[in-house]
């Protein structure tokens, strides 16, 4: 009979690493995900500047955070489905960056105004950022509709990522001067990431436009389909106007010209005409920023939220 491997012996079992800290009584954090939640803003001073409306700041953080969360989810749907392994990894990397931005922004929203966080059963260990991501209905999401429409082909994803990251990079580029130090810090990190997201999408836009007849045709079809959602990225919502006036947020209309110059550069190099398409109307003027979405967001959330909602007191 083989004796039980001695964990303290050099040639011990493969599980030894897990037992390395067994002497730390009651500490289970060596197990995957631990028993404790990671607060992405642990130790960060989240005091809201005196003269800033906390509710407006929180709503603004939800807008930027929901854009990132929903876009991240759509990008992550490519995982194991992309045209090749390198693009699969590229899209997963991009999705992960945006998910990280979303976590910070949702946590910042909750810290600014706890009333935006949905109520959960007493004793639920779900942290605020997760409550915001998994326990809000579609009508409470403030993302632009561009982020939520279903994936099409690869060209569709590259056009969407180009429009999205160009606008977001311009906004975050200004947000680094926010009077809210938390938003300023989140923006400074985000700028570095969006720089290569935009380059990646721009290169593929050019490649597809100048590639084969088929890739050219698909790129134009994707651009035609998504162009009506572009103006919403740069429209001013009253909340954005208010936080911009207070010096904590950015009015997207103020970067519209800068965004358009970048897009024009990509279109010109690619030999692609700007589509002649009107903006997708809202409902009585309400769009994604007001919580008015296409039906695809409800389906996206149903999939994204199902496990968390089935276990509102679950510990992960």
């Amino acid at each position: 009979m083989t004796p039980t491997p001695d964990p303290s012996h050099e040639a011990g079992s493969a599980y030894d690493g897990l037992l390395e800290h067994h002497e730390v009584a009651g500490d289970d954090s060596q197990w995957a995900f631990g028993t404790d939640f990671e607060d992405p803003l642990a130790g960060v001073d989240t005091t809201v500047p005196d003269d800033v409306d906390a509710a407006a700041l929180a709503t603004y953080c939800l807008m930027l955070g929901d854009d990132a969360l929903v876009m991240s989810h759509r990008l992550s749907e490519w995982t194991s489905n992309a045209p090749d392994l390198e693009e699969d990894i590229a899209l997963a990397n991009t999705a992960l960056d945006l998910l990280g931005q979303a976590r910070l922004l949702l946590a910042r929203a909750a810290a600014a105004d706890a009333s935006v966080v949905p109520a959960l059963p007493a004793g639920s260990p779900v942290p605020a950022e997760d409550a915001l991501a998994f326990f809000r209905e579609a009508g409470a999401f403030r993302n632009v509709r561009l982020a939520e429409v279903p994936n099409g082909d690869f060209a569709h994803t590259m056009v969407r990522l180009l429009l999205f990251s160009t606008a977001r990079l311009a906004v975050l580029g200004r947000l680094v001067d926010s009077r809210d130090p938390v938003l300023a810090a989140i923006a400074a990190k985000g700028v570095k990431e969006l720089t290569y997201h935009r380059d990646y999408a721009g290169r593929w836009f050019l490649t597809l436009a100048r590639g084969t007849d088929e890739s050219h045709r698909r790129l134009l079809a994707a651009l035609d389909e998504l162009w009506p959602l572009y103006p919403e990225l740069l429209a001013t919502h009253p909340v954005e106007a208010a936080v911009a006036a207070a010096g904590v947020g950015v009015d997207p209309a103020s970067v519209a010209a800068e965004v358009d110059v970048v897009l024009e550069q990509v279109l010109a190099v690619s030999g692609v005409e700007r589509p002649d398409k009107a903006a997708l109307a809202g409902v009585r003027g309400r769009t994604g920023r007001d919580g008015l979405h296409t039906e695809s967001l409800t389906r996206l959330l149903a999939e994204m939220q199902v496990v968390a909602r089935a276990h509102p007191t679950g510990l992960w």
Binding site: E20, H21, E23, V24, D27, S29, Q30, F33, G34, E38, D39, P40, L41, A42, G43, V44, E86, I89, A90, A92, N93, T94, L96, D97, L98, L99, G100, Q101, R103, L104, L169, A170, G173, P181, V182, A184, A185, I186, A188, K189, G190, V191, K192, E193, T195, Y196, R198, D199, Y200, G202, R203, L206, E258, V262, Q265, V266, V269
Partner: protein
């Protein structure tokens, strides 16, 4: 005089990155500060770390590893996150760069300057780097994205081996 924070810093500085274990957190530049935590008794310390990328999934593991090592050494440790200034690959120490090369990874060059409108780059990123295995400069980019957020994939056309390059950010 050896203070609590100095001893704790030495321990924290030796904790390694979970995804690139040849690097200590100090060599990677994510360990920002170790100071006494007055509210947590004589052995109380606060360690400040900063994420490399917004979505870096290794943050929780880094925190747990720091708490373990410091707890083992008799400290009561708390880990805080600092987002600003944002991490830059320029913060990887010379010792860290050597450790990367010793393990077959290509170390980052100087990070691009930040501030002001960011120029669009539609041509592939050009880097003057050498194969960490054979030293040849004949390398080609396979993909700007790799198995972790911080790395790009390259291939050496001299020795034909693929390798990873830690990106400039």
């Amino acid at each position: 005089m050896t203070t609590t924070a100095t001893v704790a810093r030495e321990i924290a500085a030796a904790v390694t990155d979970p995804e690139m274990p040849m690097l200590t957190l100090e060599d990677l530049g994510v360990l920002r500060d170790v100071r006494a935590d007055d509210g947590a008794g004589e052995q109380g310390v606060v360690v400040t770390i900063t994420p490399t990328y917004s979505g870096c999934p290794a943050m929780a593991t880094m925190r747990d590893d720091l708490v373990h090592r410091l707890t083992d050494a008799g400290f009561t440790a708390r880990v805080e996150v600092s987002l600003t200034p944002a991490w830059s690959s320029d913060w990887i120490t010379e010792r860290g760069r050597q450790a990367l090369r010793d393990h077959g990874l290509s170390a980052p060059g100087p990070a691009p300057r930040t501030g002001g409108p960011v120029p669009l780059t539609l041509t592939p990123t050009r880097r003057a780097i050498d194969c960490p295995r054979c030293g040849s400069g004949r390398v080609e980019l396979t993909s700007e994205f790799g198995a972790t957020a911080c790395k790009a994939l390259y291939r050496c056309t001299a020795c034909l081996e693929p390798f990873e390059h830690v990106k400039e950010i």
